[in-house]
């Protein structure tokens, strides 16, 4: 068992709906999170609980803090200098914002897929094995197995199995993004963070990735930032609506889109702004 796996407490969602199926424990628990870039107050008093093996979508107009939030979940925000946070985010019971928490451990358990497909300028094979290798796995047979399994997991195996040694830049944009998902699966994370993963893709590739996410959620917890409300409605179990750095509403996706409780949510999803 991972040492991170001792958080058994179950917390009620912000809106009090505790009707998610049994067994879906909380992976991420955010309490009173505030974040500043220099003087800019980018996230304000965020409270959110994210459950295992679900797709949680985060929506909101651009500049609302949704990307900042998802990057806080694996502490990638720290790549920007002058970032300051208060409050806590517990991942399986441990506060990841604590300075003594090793970010490399966190990011080993929490994978990330980025807005623009960003394969490494290496072969397909080396893209997948990069993660396992940095974590010390060097056995060729094991690596071969990981490559096949990850590529199958991202449903791209059949397209690339005959050209594993070719440069990843030869793939189409949609294939590149699935390769990036496969690269992320190679180290078997618990959570996959997706930061607008389809915004740079055509509709057909988008659809494939959405299908893939339905498969992936059987084994992984997925948190996805999207500016596309239809996408959130199609694929997610829960949705959080961010506005000006605050969580306006967090609820089951069905409820949020059909009977929003906040006027601003209603305005946004009905296309009145943003």
């Amino acid at each position: 068992m991972s040492p991170l796996n001792d958080g058994k407490k179950v917390k009620v969602d912000v809106k009090g709906n505790n009707d998610s199926p049994i067994g879906n424990e909380i992976v991420y628990d955010t309490n009173d999170l505030n974040l500043w870039y220099g003087q800019t107050h980018a996230l304000k008093d965020i409270n959110l609980s994210i459950h295992e093996k679900e797709v949680t979508a985060i929506i909101g107009p651009s500049g609302c803090g949704k990307s900042t939030y998802i990057k806080t979940l694996n502490r990638m925000v720290e790549l920007v200098p002058s970032v300051r946070t208060t409050g806590t985010i517990t991942y399986k019971g441990k506060n990841i914002l604590d300075k003594s928490f090793k970010v490399e451990d966190l990011r080993t358990h929490v994978g990330m897929v980025f807005q623009k497909p960003n394969p490494f300028p290496k072969s397909i094979y080396d893209n997948i094995t990069y993660g396992p290798k940095i974590h010390g796995i060097r056995n060729k047979k094991v690596l071969d197995e990981i490559v096949e399994k990850s590529l199958r997991g991202a449903s791209i195996w059949d397209e690339v199995k005959d050209r594993l040694n070719e440069n990843a830049y030869g793939l189409s944009g949609g294939q590149q993004q699935r390769l990036c998902i496969a690269r992320c699966l190679a180290i078997e994370p618990n959570v996959i963070l997706m930061d607008e993963p389809t915004s740079a893709l055509d509709p057909k590739s988008t659809l494939r990735i959405e299908e893939l996410m339905q498969e992936l959620k059987k084994e992984y917890s997925i948190i996805i930032v999207t500016h596309n409300m239809q996408q959130a409605a199609r694929i997610s179990d829960k949705t959080a609506f961010f506005l000006n750095g605050e969580v306006v509403e967090f609820n089951d996706t069905n409820k949020l889109f059909t009977t929003p409780e906040d006027k601003r949510t209603e305005d946004y999803i009905s296309g009145r702004f943003g």
């Binding site: 694996n74 990638m76 790549l79 200098p81 970010v103 490399e104 451990d105 966190l106 990011r107 080993t108 358990h109 994978g111 990330m112 980025f114 623009k116 960003n118 394969p119 490494f120 300028p121 290496k122 990069y130 993660g131 290798k133 940095i134 974590h135 830049y169 990036c180 690269r183 992320c184 180290i187």
Partner: protein
């Protein structure tokens, strides 16, 4: 009332246009001036030196007799210098660039190092020669050996390599290192596994250009006291040596005494220019072949 007199404007117009055209041609002539000089220089050197290049010249030992003189010793000396300059400048240059671009906190020390490097780039090469004479030849007691020359030239071209490596590292897109960090890679793993491999073409191109600067340098070597007529070939880095530019220098100086020495100098210039041409071609090939599409 009309402020602009159409007739007057028309009159001035043609002279303005003529002036423009005349000066345009003057500017073109100025641009071509440098190229014409380049052409004269090359033609002159080739016509004087080409006939003197043969197998004996390339593989023979130095001699005061122009007909028997060869430049193998100088070729070997220059090669030995390259063997020192390449690893030393790449190691220090890339290390410094990684520090400045990826590790240094934006602050006083970082900008101090950066300013220092740009100042070093403007120090005359002969001053580096004095530094080498004081530190490597005398204090470290290498004498006028290859190692002293190589280290002096390395310090001289170091700023070029650092700046080229910095640019190459800066050109690696952020999203690649983000992907690496996102998988739990540490900083050094990301530098070693992602950033450096992507920056290698740029680093190599810069290093080759620095190298070609180094092997054409004469002034610092003259200060180190490289001998004029050195018969034995150097065998290791602690041997005394001569180099192609030094040979050109001595033969040019003595050409007022022995006319043939001017031809030997020209022939050696051809060899040096061919070497530089090859190095630059390699740099261009690397730049074109490995140009990354991110």
């Amino acid at each position: 009332m009309k402020y602009i007199d159409d007739v007057q404007v028309q009159k001035r117009m043609s002279s303005r246009v003529t002036k423009n055209n005349v000066l345009k041609n003057l500017f073109l002539a100025a641009t071509l001036f440098g190229l014409v000089v380049l052409a004269i220089l090359l033609i002159r050197v080739i016509s004087q030196g080409a006939a003197w290049i043969d197998w004996n010249f390339l593989t023979g030992r130095l001699s005061t007799n122009a007909d028997r003189a060869g430049i193998m010793g100088a070729i070997l000396g220059t090669s030995w210098l390259m063997l020192i300059v390449i690893p030393v400048t790449i190691f220090i240059g890339v290390g410094t660039a990684i520090y400045l671009e990826l590790y240094a906190k934006k602050g006083k020390f970082q900008s101090f190092v950066a300013t220092n490097i740009s100042n070093l780039a403007g120090v005359p090469s002969i001053v580096y020669g004095l530094l080498g004479l004081t530190i490597f030849v005398r204090a470290m007691d290498f004498g006028n050996a290859i190692i002293a020359g190589g280290l002096t030239l390395s310090l001289l071209v170091l700023p070029i390599v650092i700046v080229a490596a910095q640019e190459a590292i800066r050109a690696v897109p952020q999203h690649l290192s983000e992907a690496s960090y996102g998988m739990g890679a540490t900083k050094w793993q990301t530098v070693k596994g992602i950033i450096l491999p992507a920056a290698i073409p740029g680093i190599l191109t810069g290093s080759i250009l620095a190298l070609s600067r180094a092997i054409g340098e004469t002034a610092p070597l003259t200060v180190l006291g490289i001998p004029a007529l050195l018969i034995p070939f150097p065998g290791n880095i602690f041997d005394t040596f001569t180099a192609l530019p030094m040979q050109i220098y001595y033969w040019t100086l003595d050409s007022s005494l022995v006319q043939e020495y001017a031809y030997l100098a020209a022939a050696t210039i051809i060899v040096l220019l061919v070497l530089l041409f090859l190095l630059n071609s390699i740099a261009i090939i690397i730049r074109n072949k490995f140009q990354q599409r991110y």
